[in-house]
């Protein structure tokens, strides 16, 4: 402990940095250097994924854009899928911070709360639907590393649904005998369908929300107390 590997944040040098070359690592800050590379790769990848899509972006381009070598991309990430996973994770962190703030104050019954929660998702994600789809597709990628988080494992979303259902049980509009995980899975499948509508049929957030609202209504028939 207390040795020279203590991490010193170098004034956010990694964020938005445009320097042509990575600065050489000062003695004992290999970890910091690695973090800076990681940050730069993620920033470059986010930009490229947004402009030319996931499939259309190569690791080589990401490296060039981030001003790091292809080798150092691979010492930081196992695959392009893992970079995508991290890009999406960063994005979702913002969304979930907002949901954490909003969810406790939502009015109405369980169905209304679920509808609002998904509408917030669609409004947030609609600009990046193709990327989100690539994110889902990457879940089935052969070389998926253990660290990557496929869409089905979006535990934050699942957790929010479970909390909403638990609240519904307490308030009497959700059947206590129903398996909450099964409701979660059905909602996730419905959610994925709304995505396909957006990516393939060009549906906007309003259209996605409308389809999702109908599906939530139908699933709610199944969790209503008898």
């Amino acid at each position: 402990m207390g040795n020279s590997t203590t991490i010193i944040d170098r004034g956010g040098a990694a964020d938005g940095q445009t320097a042509a070359t990575p600065s050489p690592a000062p003695a004992g800050s290999r970890q910091t250097q690695k973090e800076a590379t990681r940050r730069r790769v993620i920033d470059a990848a986010r930009e490229l994924f947004d402009t030319q899509g996931y499939e259309g972006t190569t690791i080589r381009e990401i490296a060039r854009h981030a001003n790091v070598s292809v080798g150092s991309v691979f010492t930081t990430f196992a695959s392009k899928g893992e970079i995508l996973s991290q890009v999406m994770q960063d994005r979702l962190d913002g969304l979930y911070a907002e949901l954490d703030r909003v969810m406790p104050h939502l009015r109405g019954g369980t169905v209304d709360r679920l509808r609002t929660m998904f509408a917030i998702h669609f409004a947030f994600e609609v600009q990046h639907t193709r990327l989100f789809l690539a994110h889902i597709a990457a879940a089935y990628d052969w070389n998926l590393p253990p660290g990557a988080k496929p869409m089905g494992k979006n535990t934050r979303l699942q957790q929010i649904i479970i909390e909403t259902l638990a609240k519904g049980v307490a308030e009497g509009d959700v059947d206590p005998a129903i398996s909450q995980q099964e409701i979660v899975d059905l909602l996730m499948a419905a959610y994925a369908w709304a995505y396909r509508l957006a990516a393939w049929d060009g549906a906007d957030a309003a259209a996605m929300t409308e389809v999702m609202d109908r599906q939530i209504g139908l699933i709610a028939n199944g969790f209503a107390p008898r």
Binding site: E55, Y140, W142, L218
Partner: protein, 216 residues
């Protein structure tokens, strides 16, 4: 010019050149498809290259391209062949079911049983199915639509029997049932779920999705 029906031609002169060439072409396609099926299962969709597939089939990449436009064409052909077989399996599984719930469950299980021994291929199919480029073509392909229509047909039959309400959004329910059916594959692929576990989950999902449609 006299046109000879293919069967008659085959009977009259089974060794005629055109037939033999057609046969050879068919054999080449079958060889490529079987090599491709194996490689997609072993290496996934992205991992398997046309070059590898050609080598495994013992032919040149040119010969592969003479039969298939590209890798996604090759993969789609494999999938669609399977889907057609699956549609038949599902259809006969549902025949004679006593209720809509039972018909749905039997169809789900016919699907899981069909893919039980080829989960890696199913995984590749999901990867392609979700891809922005190739997804729509696979997802909207007629044999996939047939699976969806089979579910809808069973719901309509149940409505005809008076078991469920004909006005209860049956189209949407069929779509959601199909999505629920697909949503369990990741459990089988990544979670190692066996058929019993899939059956228990499917039964509950079907009950939830049909709850609002039942006649009281």
């Amino acid at each position: 010019m006299k046109h000879i029906a293919p069967i008659q031609a085959a009977e009259d002169a089974p060794m005629k050149a055109p037939t033999r060439r057609a046969l050879a072409k068919q054999q080449t396609r079958a060889k490529v498809l079987s090599a491709a099926r194996r490689l997609f299962s072993e290496q996934g969709y992205e991992g398997a290259t046309i070059r590898d597939i050609a080598a495994a089939a013992g032919m040149s990449t040119g010969a592969v391209f003479a039969n298939f436009t590209d890798k996604s064409d090759l993969f789609r052909e494999i999938m669609l062949t399977d889907m057609s077989a699956l549609a038949e399996a599902m259809s006969s599984a549902a025949a004679g079911a006593a209720s809509a719930d039972q018909a749905m469950l039997k169809m789900f299980m016919a699907g899981y049983a069909f893919y039980q021994t080829q989960l890696p291929l199913a995984r590749a199919a999901f990867s392609v199915g979700w891809s922005p480029q190739d997804g729509p073509a696979l997802r909207n392909a007629p044999p996939v639509q047939i699976l969806h229509e089979l579910l809808l047909a069973e719901l309509n039959r149940a409505a005809g029997r008076g078991e469920i309400d004909a006005d209860a959004n049956l189209e949407l329910r069929a779509q959601m049932l199909f999505d629920a059916y697909l949503s369990n594959y990741p459990q089988a692929i990544f979670g190692g779920w066996n058929l019993q576990a899939l059956e228990a989950r499917s039964r509950d999902q079907i009950a939830i999705l049909l709850a609002g449609a039942r006649r009281r």
